[in-house]
Symmetry: C2
Subunit: 200 residues, 2 copies
């Protein structure tokens, strides 16, 4: 398959690339690196990404930031930033991408364990990830031409323990290699409207 | 209790007022009517609402719009409008309201059945309602002074059959009177981080 991987340089993106590259042709997209540069919060930039990428069988997004902080100290702008970046960024990829995917193609989005398991300072993360999972459930019901859409919700990756471990006390990390395989299951499988979880 | 009801003039708000008014002191807020006028998408307006409302034991929000339409024809601006109105409007009420609620007070937000049951043209609704439920799950873990937060997710109200019935084929409607009681259960009960569902 020809697969567009958005957020290819991140920790999850690297794991996904490792799982997919041996079997498929990957086009890597990112804000600052990759075959194609893209700002997911700008729909015109997303459209240009698809023009440059050409015909595709699958799109995988692993990009997006959320805001971490105490709710009482969070400003509306900070809360919105997570909605605009991780949620709307991925929504833009889907809305603009429908017409660029070949029949039977798929979108695989990234949510996260905080959708199900809130963590300290993580209200924005839970909100954004729950929204992504709702989006996937609903979008699956109306995609044309046999297109599929799923989300992958992973716990902390072993490779991210140094940077994010303190946010996830008592959570067992999983190796990126295992996480990458779950994305491969979404891309090459038959499921749609699913949230594939990966945690211990 | 002194209870602020935001969105008091809507169909759900009218049902909630009917359930709460016999037992409590209600301060009604709305965009175009009520004791206090408020634009929930403007945090300064939300702050003014709380200044005018005075000390409160509970806040109930039943306000907010989402976008209905085919995903492929939806613009990012239309999709964002639902996030800004129904989601961020209620998030603003909570973020600004924490310091105005008396110890042990509560927030009751409104999501909707589409969080669990996608409907045609309703991807934005499912996304927004799922986000609200995620927000409630996470915010409950960090509210101070015994404050509680829940969401109510109702199906179509009997009173809304004329306007929204065509969007919900085969869904049984419930009378507003029953829906109002579920809000009362959230306000006067002990639950927090809960989504109280009401459908057949």
């Amino acid at each position: 398959m020809r697969i567009l991987l958005v957020g290819a340089s991140g920790t999850v993106g690297t794991a996904v690339a490792g799982a997919l590259a041996p079997h498929h042709e990957l086009i890597r997209a990112g804000r600052h690196s990759g075959d194609v540069r893209v700002d997911l919060t700008d729909i015109a930039s997303v459209e240009r990404m698809y023009q440059e990428a050409g015909a595709l069988d699958a799109v995988v997004t692993t990009a997006g930031h959320v805001h971490f902080g105490m709710l009482e100290e969070t400003t509306p702008e900070q809360f919105m930033s997570g909605l605009q970046d991780k949620l709307m960024g991925q929504v833009n990829v889907v809305m603009a991408g429908i017409k660029h995917l070949r029949d039977g193609g798929s979108f695989t989005l990234t949510s996260g364990i905080t959708a199900a398991e809130p963590i300290r300072l993580g209200t924005n993360a839970t909100t954004v990830n729950a929204a992504i999972e709702g989006f996937v459930r609903a979008a699956a019901t109306e995609l044309p031409r046999g297109l599929r859409i799923n989300a992958v919700s992973a716990t902390l990756l072993t490779e991210s323990l140094d940077s994010f471990g303190p946010y996830f006390p008592g959570f067992e990390a999983v190796p990126g290699e295992r996480v990458g395989q779950v994305y491969r299951r979404s891309v090459e499988g038959v499921g749609t409207g699913r949230v594939y979880t990966i945690w211990q």
